[in-house]
Amino acid sequence: MMNSLLGAVESGLIYALMALGVYITFRILDFPDLTVDGSFTTGGAIAAVMITEGASPWIATICAFFGGLAAGALTGLLHTKGKINGLLSGILMMIALYSINMRIMGKPNVGLLGETTMFSSLSPLLLMPFVVVAVKLLLDLFLHTELGLALRATGDNQRMIRSFGAHTDNTIIMGLSLSNGLVALSGALIAQQSGFADISAGIGMIVIGLASVIIGEAIFGARTVFFATLAAVLGSIVYRIVVALALRIEWLEQTDLKLITAVIVIFALVIPSVHRSWKQKGLARKRSAEIVALHEKQGLGGER
């Protein structure tokens, strides 16, 4: 039990980088970016191949990050310059990346057993907290720079930020690029943690990212950028713990996981909006009643 929980925290921390990437596109840019499913695998593929070819795991991981940056930038170009619908740009890129990932790896699975990885000398549980906190704080800082403000405004009010001289095509490309860079970084680290890169590693990754972001926001709130990124990180860990617990239920299969994830996301998306509309209805009813009562008190009520 304890072991599986520690394992969950460990992978939660690594997947947290992916969740931060999804936070950038989904929450900041308001752009559901399916590139993630491909770029996660790209990150793993680049890192695994470079490491097996003898590159230092640090260099390999950084190159994976850059691979993700490039993939995201291409999705951004498709969307902004090619004027392709956002969802479709992501899907196109995801499909294209499948072939590219296969070319990078040369086979569907590249093993890393016996290779030196980032985690050879330091266990993920010790290294990852530092990496995640550093990335989170850097991202917070970036989102408060002039460029970061323009990025956030692009998702909030494009027309407004254009009238203040920001080229929104560029901010969208930048956001998608940064997001997929983080996703690929996460993919590279997951490959090193699990000891292999697999062509199907990224399938469903966007939904897991969304689940993490949404669960995090629901539990920890997202009032400011600081809390929103914190929520994405913690949400990723909570998600892994939930999955670990779910897998202990006897009649559940490993392959049921994606269904569980989808159900979590659906609930997390539906409940807040239902809750909001109930609250609004209740408030409106209460206020109306108050106003009616006030009028009756003043003798202004209608005829009986």
Binding site: T145, M160, R162, A166
Partner: protein
């Protein structure tokens, strides 16, 4: 300062919905001019604004600022010279960002945005000082999300954001139309103060006839994509509403038809 020469614009060219938005518009704004623009629905007032700010490109004709031809410059590149306040109070600000963050974005107008922190403590002092000039207490709410402000407060903030880097040209597109009378009056007063203080060259579209006569030093009237009347300062001083409406009917041959027109 701003010269619009022979600008025409057609919407839906070649389709059954083809509509002439502007026909051979010529307009010259001198530095420091404050022009009010009135006209009926579909007269081309908003199209003219969009043309100047770069949201739309003219089919023919040129637009020059300070002698530089900006006809083909995209909106984000023109923004260095042009400040704009929209009719919709939601349009000019980012609702999920704080007041100070919104101001920081306005502060970076026309500059390359880099990795400097948007809201430094030095800038925060400046923002506070500028906000306090609005006199509506926003200086104490720097970290409030703009979405929590009322329409009037947002419009006052938009006005400040549009002007505080002192743009060469200020475009006001019915910026008080969506507000209740008291708030509209407040924003109008702020507009007057800011424009005269910074001596901004201003073009203001309004549906409020009284306001159009009272504000500014020049008044133009548009109808059917043309400027049909251009009233200079000395004539404008003696202008009355009846006179203006009469002129409109005489020149255009029909009544001023604007469902939102406010006479006073």
């Amino acid at each position: 300062m701003l010269r619009i020469s022979h600008v025409s614009k057609l919407f839906h060219a070649g389709s059954p919905d083809e509509k002439i938005a502007l026909t051979d518009i010529n307009l010259h704004l001198n530095s420091g001019d404050f022009i009010t623009v009135i006209g009926s629905n579909g007269a081309g007032k908003s199209t003219l604004m969009n043309m100047i700010s770069g949201v739309l490109k003219p089919d023919i004709g040129n637009i020059l600022i300070d002698g530089n031809d900006i006809t083909n410059l995209p909106e984000h590149k023109r923004s260095r010279w042009i400040g704009r306040v929209f009719q919709d109070p939601m349009a000019g600000t980012a609702p999920h960002m704080t007041i100070e963050e919104n101001l920081a974005m306005a502060y970076s107008r026309g500059q390359n945005r880099g990795l400097h922190i948007g809201v430094s403590s030095k800038r925060r002092t400046l923002f506070k000082e500028q906000l306090s000039r609005l006199g509506i207490g926003l200086e104490d709410r720097l970290r409030a999300k703009v979405g929590t402000l009322s329409g009037g407060e947002r419009q006052a903030l938009s006005l400040l954001m549009a002007t505080f880097t002192k743009p060469q040209i200020l475009l006001l597109d019915e910026h008080t139309a969506a507000l209740d009378p008291a708030r509209a009056e407040l924003v109008t007063r702020l507009t007057q103060n800011i424009v005269s203080e910074l001596n901004l060259t201003t073009l203001m579209v309004t549906h409020n006839m009284e306001q159009a006569i009272r504000l500014g030093n020049r008044l133009i009237m548009m109808d059917g994509g043309k400027i049909i009347l251009d009233v200079n300062e000395s004539v404008k001083a003696d202008l009355t509403m009846e006179h203006l409406l009469g002129e409109f009917e005489r020149i255009s041959g029909h009544k001023l038809a604007d469902d939102r027109v406010v006479l006073g």
